[in-house]
Symmetry: C3
Subunit: 264 residues, 3 copies
């Protein structure tokens, strides 16, 4: 029950404080993640160039780094932003999209993971790849269940001193010792591109208002999962789901959070 009270408190805090969330993310989802951050009450900005990225991180309340459509120039920007985030103690989230699919992707994710992200958020295949396990992957979609990666997630979190969030049918968040499971969500969400990227962006917003990274990540995932369920109830397919999801993030109220969040 305390767990669920916290979900509402963090959502309320995001809406009241409208934290500036700096995103270096992929081309596919920039629009969605910006809209999801706005819908939840945060103030998103997408800034990637070497020339300005550190300066921008320094004025932000959280940083989200997503390697979905990486290239060397962008990775340079990511490095500078991460460096600035550590210096200024801005919490940051790593989304290792497609880690395991190519050597470049795995190497970049692994390198960035060493720079003290507050949270690493990925699907099971991505988490296995960052953990150094030979995880097969199919492009950017996971070929493993969340559960299959839990040992690796726990060990990765302990080794790097970070929090690892594995999303799937059930989402799991661990710092190596604690483990929170979130059962909200709907299968149709997997038919909309960038839902994982949106999860990572929302984790960033919640980190800006909640310093316990396990709680911040779990709450963000619960809010997204619940908004997805509410959206799915009104949707005929993935097109309408995406629209209703933004509406649900914007209108989600305390009673619904208390009645429907499933976290343990």
């Amino acid at each position: 029950m305390e767990l669920i009270t916290g979900v509402w408190q963090s959502l309320k805090a995001v809406r009241e404080r409208a934290p500036l969330v700096h995103n270096i993310t992929n081309y596919v989802v920039m629009n969605n993640t910006a809209n999801a951050l706005l819908a939840v009450g945060a103030s998103p900005a997408m800034v990637h160039a070497r020339e300005e990225v550190a300066e921008f991180t320094a004025i932000s309340q959280a940083l989200v780094v997503n390697i979905g459509t990486l290239s060397p120039d962008w990775v340079d920007g990511m490095r500078l932003a991460v460096h600035a985030a550590r210096q200024r103690q801005v919490p940051w989230v790593l989304d290792p999209v497609g880690a395991g699919a190519t050597r470049y992707r795995t190497a970049t994710a692994t390198e960035l993971a060493r720079h003290a992200p507050a949270v690493i958020r990925g699907n099971a295949s991505e988490v296995l790849a960052v953990a150094g396990e030979a995880g097969a992957t199919k492009g950017v979609d996971s070929t493993h269940s969340s559960e299959a990666s839990l040992d690796a997630a726990r060990q990765l979190a302990s080794r790097l001193g970070t929090v690892v969030a594995v999303t799937g049918k059930t989402d799991y968040v661990t710092d190596g010792e604690r483990m929170v499971a979130v059962d909200n969500g709907h299968a149709l969400m997997a038919r909309v591109t960038g839902m994982g990227c949106t999860a990572s962006a929302l984790v960033g917003a919640f980190l800006a208002v909640e310093s316990d990274a396990v709680l911040a990540a779990a709450r963000a995932l619960a809010v997204l999962g619940l908004a997805g369920e509410l959206a799915a109830e009104q949707s005929k397919g993935p097109g309408s789901l995406q629209m209703h999801l933004l509406d649900a993030l914007h209108t989600l109220d305390e009673a619904t959070v208390r009645a429907r969040v499933r976290m343990r």
Copy 2:
């Protein structure tokens, strides 16, 4: 009344002539601005590479330059396009997204502003930054009311011989002497990413059919604001607003324009 008659005339002209609007804009909003331009009746294209940008500007009826996700290669493309626009007398719009947030952004916006844009369209913080005033900003969202930037907007317009449009709760358009205010719009629009970018894109389309840049900008902002109001009436949140907005731009008719545009 004459002001409002002109709104409809310009919208009708955009629909009839379908001007080719060349956009160099940011990754976040490309899809939205292309769709808004199509919905209003224009023919959008996004072209940014040094290798072709000048050639493309030369066949266009308007150019829109938006620095939302700038980097050196893109700024080079912007410079070449602006140069071609001036040579061919293609009217162009500058959207100085996030000017004031970083030195790189402020410097780029200030440099481009000196190259005779027909219209500079920004929020109050951005306009203050381009005008050289120490305007605090929060990422890409304004921390000032439109009204707080009106003196700076007027002076900037006079100094550069351009038109400045400051958007916010009320939108203002000035050439340093004339000042037109547009009261259309809805608060929910600020919860959809890139609404300001869409405003700039529509200003481009209207400049292609109306040479008086004060009128072109004010009319475009009135059409967008009115479409936003119509959309908000049917929307439960920012997701549905975005969808209904495109529908409203597409279906907006003379009677609605005459009944509901509020311009002074």
Copy 3:
């Protein structure tokens, strides 16, 4: 009748096999095409960097190359991916967006077309430009009817040993000898950006399950056209069309395909 039975069989195969479709496409439509591929049942990924593109093509079941927002770095990535596709016999689709509008665009499209795409999918102006005919174009929209390009399409297909699909009011697919026409579609689809790009992406998904490229392309275009018709029946404008289109791609059933596909 046999033609139409095949449409359903291929759609069913895409849903069952969920082929990984590697896209190197433009910034404007990445989100739409990823969502359309997910809605139809495929597994999309957008990967463009020289550092990983060949490795990614090698694990994919189809490759889609779209030059909508090209630049030299991206063209290098396209070349490497196309090379890998040929080596691994991964079928690939070329979408020569805006060919004819600038020399850079025409040259890039013409060069890529020589590397054995399974299908070239464009509007009439683009196909004329790739065929080397002096086709006037207006930005990225066609200034010709599909019919006006049929001779060029046939000759281009024969000369390159490929299949050419020209989309417009009626879509035509030819390998230089056979010619299949698809009459599905709706005028409102042209008011949504990237509908042609979505067509090319779906052709990629269908090539992954059907080796006869004429049939694969015609079936993909029929599915998209039919989904567009179904969407248009429920839409007030281009905003709602885009949403309903994704829902329709996701829910399209055998009875509707059999009743409404118009292919000859």
